[in-house]
């Protein structure tokens, strides 16, 4: 019994160590790959970013709308409907925008990355590359990682902007908040620091989500079931990691 627990723990430690070494390797080679294999990176920006734009925009619109609805319903009790803009703006820019974008990214792009790399491994494409002295980390993994890292802040910005537009539509056009009050209150309450907090978060989440996706794919058990499992794990682990890091960043920023 004790033996088994120890074995499991050691196995976990080994996987964790391999993961950290893999991350270091990806980080170290990233700058060089960015310049030498730029077309590959652009292709991955298309796969991870441009193809996610529709889901991001639709989600953003509705999330912004629902925030405005909830804010309005509660603020109305204090006759403070004019501050709907502050509520929606703060929530979208600092929290909801980066976090939901990261979760959607994990579901849309992260799974695609993991299963693609996992399938390449299952069909021995990665071994074939190694055979030809082509480093699969540099040729396959890093361009996908960089594509995700570049895409995430842009996707987050699009999500937040569309969200603000959705909140505007619900609050101003539907619930009758004054348009001037909505935007003026929002602009007065928000500082550049708040916007930057959202942008920093999106950069960190981009790195986390992309790294975990490529790691899960690269580390997948090379069978059909293994690739499926890697895809699932990508979503689960990314969601947990993003939410934990979100808490830590928010705590660090607000307790400063």
């Amino acid at each position: 019994m004790l033996r088994e627990i120890l074995d499991t723990f050691l196995k976990f430690l080994r996987t964790f160590g391999a993961m950290v070494l893999f991350f270091v390797r990806v980080f170290l080679h990233s700058p060089a790959v960015f310049f030498s294999r730029f077309p590959l990176v652009i292709k991955q920006v298309y796969n991870a970013g441009a193809l996610s734009i529709v889901i991001i925009m639709v989600s953003g619109l509705f999330v912004g709308g629902v925030l405005a609805l909830q804010a309005f319903a509660n603020l109305e009790r204090f006759n403070a409907e004019d501050t709907t803009g502050i509520f929606a703006g703060f929530a979208l820019i600092k929290e909801i925008g980066p976090v939901i974008t990261a979760l959607l990214f994990a579901g849309r792009a992260g799974t695609a990355l993991a299963s693609e790399i996992g399938l390449m491994k299952a069909t021995d494409q990665l071994s074939a590359m190694e055979m030809m002295a082509v480093d699969p980390v540099r040729y396959v993994v890093i361009p996908r990682f960089l594509g995700g890292v570049i895409s995430m802040p842009l996707l987050t910005a699009v999500f937040t902007t569309i969200g603000l537009a959705g909140a505007h539509v619900v609050a101003v056009e539907w619930l009758g908040v004054d348009v001037g009050a909505y935007w003026q209150q929002l602009q007065q309450a928000l500082d550049m620091e708040d916007v930057l907090e959202g942008i920093y978060k999106s950069i960190v989440f981009g790195i986390i989500a992309s790294l975990l996706a490529v790691w899960e794919g690269y580390n997948a058990i090379p069978t059909a079931a293994g690739v499926g499992r890697a895809t699932t794990r990508t979503v689960v682990i990314t969601a947990i990691a993003v939410l934990i890091f979100d808490f830590m960043i928010t705590a660090a920023v607000s307790l400063r």
Partner: protein, 157 residues
């Protein structure tokens, strides 16, 4: 070939959209009441109580923002708050006996410094000190007076 074109178009559109959205967020959603002047001069004022005045709070005259609070210190000798603020150098004809009071924007808004012009023919300049000041109105004190005294100040018959 056709596929490359679609990919390039899509990527270009995506990156453009993203950068446009970033631009919108950084320029349009943050406060535009930011005071920025190339040249400023610093003025000091002492207050008995500054309430919840913070650095970067606006300094306004006739409702126009002409400066910004840069520093708030406590003077351990006179037991007063020393507020330093900068005023845009183009407003160099503010009488030096103007008085400064700490006001609140709206009922629950943030606090700012309001200047009321005096009648002196000397003007405020770098390093001047405003002598006539009025402290922030602390809501709790007013409520306390009502509870204890029953009658607000200046209401004697």
């Amino acid at each position: 070939m056709q596929q490359t074109r679609t990919m390039e178009l899509g990527t270009g559109l995506f990156v453009l959209l993203g950068i446009g959205a970033l631009f919108f967020l950084t320029t349009q959603t943050t406060g535009r009441n930011d005071f920025d002047a190339d040249e400023t001069f610093a003025v000091q004022a002492r207050f008995e109580n500054i309430g919840s005045l913070k650095t970067r709070a606006p300094v306004s005259m006739s409702g126009v923002t002409i400066g910004r609070v840069t520093d708030i210190q406590f003077d351990p000798v006179s037991l007063e708050a020393v507020v330093t603020f900068v005023i845009d150098s183009k407003y160099d004809q503010i009488p030096d006996d103007s008085d400064a009071s700490i006001l609140t924007a709206g009922l629950l808004g943030s606090q700012y410094i309001g200047l009321q012009p005096g009648g002196s023919s000397f003007f405020l300049e770098q390093g001047s000190e405003i002598l006539y000041t009025q402290s922030a109105i602390v809501l709790e004190n007013i409520i306390g007076k009502f509870l204890v005294g029953g009658r607000p100040e200046g209401d004697e018959e």
